[in-house]
């Protein structure tokens, strides 16, 4: 799992996953689109809390490998100011067969959106801006694995 300020180059990332045992590669790219809920969007600004985004992302990748017989999985999420059409997130999975590759890829992107401390602010054509409040993510939050209750430290 990586958080990056650099442009995501999916082909280069894919090449790092090659494996002689792999018969399938499934990938997901999330792109910046020019509209959200009726607003014209000019660009999107992402921020993350990197230490925990990486830690939680690694946990998601491990879970995907436990649930599905895959060979490798990787995810890169971009932060900073992104323009329309740019890639905000990339997930790549290689596996012996396509079913596992698709399933693991789907699991990873869904959980990444739900659990990683990453936020985005939309900048609109009318000059306003607003943090995206992902209602669907919040509504599905109870489907995420429960976080631990910490024992008292003091």
């Amino acid at each position: 799992m990586r958080i990056s300020k650099q442009v995501i180059r999916p082909v280069e990332l894919r090449d790092q996953l090659t494996d002689p045992r792999a018969g399938a590669y499934a990938a997901f790219e999330g792109w910046i689109r020019n509209e959200n809920e009726g607003h014209d969007v000019l660009r999107l600004e992402y921020e993350s809390y990197e230490p925990l985004a990486v830690k939680e992302g690694e946990r998601v990748l491990r879970e995907a490998a436990e649930k599905h017989p895959i060979l490798k999985a990787e995810c890169v999420h971009r932060i900073g100011m992104l323009e329309i059409g740019e890639c905000a997130v990339w997930v790549g999975v290689v596996a012996p067969h396509r079913d596992e590759a698709f399933a693991a890829c789907r699991y990873i992107i869904d959980q990444v959106k739900l659990r990683l401390p990453i936020w985005k602010k939309e900048h609109y054509a009318d000059g306003h801006s607003g943090w995206v409040n992902c209602e669907r993510c919040a509504a599905h939050a109870e489907t995420a694995p429960p976080v631990v209750t910490r024992v008292h430290a003091s």
Partner: protein, 81 residues
């Protein structure tokens, strides 16, 4: 007894609070208490159920106890992807 906590705000919470971070003394037991007290203080209307919390860089549940000297990270609804 009051606990001295460092609280860090992110994204929309940082804009509500007008600060990245503060060290404050609060009479609290759990992460939930911290959220509710600071929500009132900083005027956020975000329901707790949409938010997440970490203590000392570990994601925890809202019922987790906080200890003196802990760093509490308050995360508004996440929206990656």
């Amino acid at each position: 007894m009051s606990k001295t906590l460092t609280v860090r705000y992110f994204a929309a919470f940082r804009e509500h609070a007008g600060i990245d971070e503060e060290t404050i003394s609060l009479k609290v037991h759990t992460a939930r208490d911290v959220f509710e007290l600071l929500k009132a203080r900083h005027g956020s209307a975000e329901p707790l159920g949409h938010c997440k919390v970490a203590i000392n860089d570990e994601m925890v549940s809202w019922d987790s106890p906080v200890g003196d000297g802990d760093t509490i990270l308050l995360f508004p609804p996440v929206a990656g992807g």
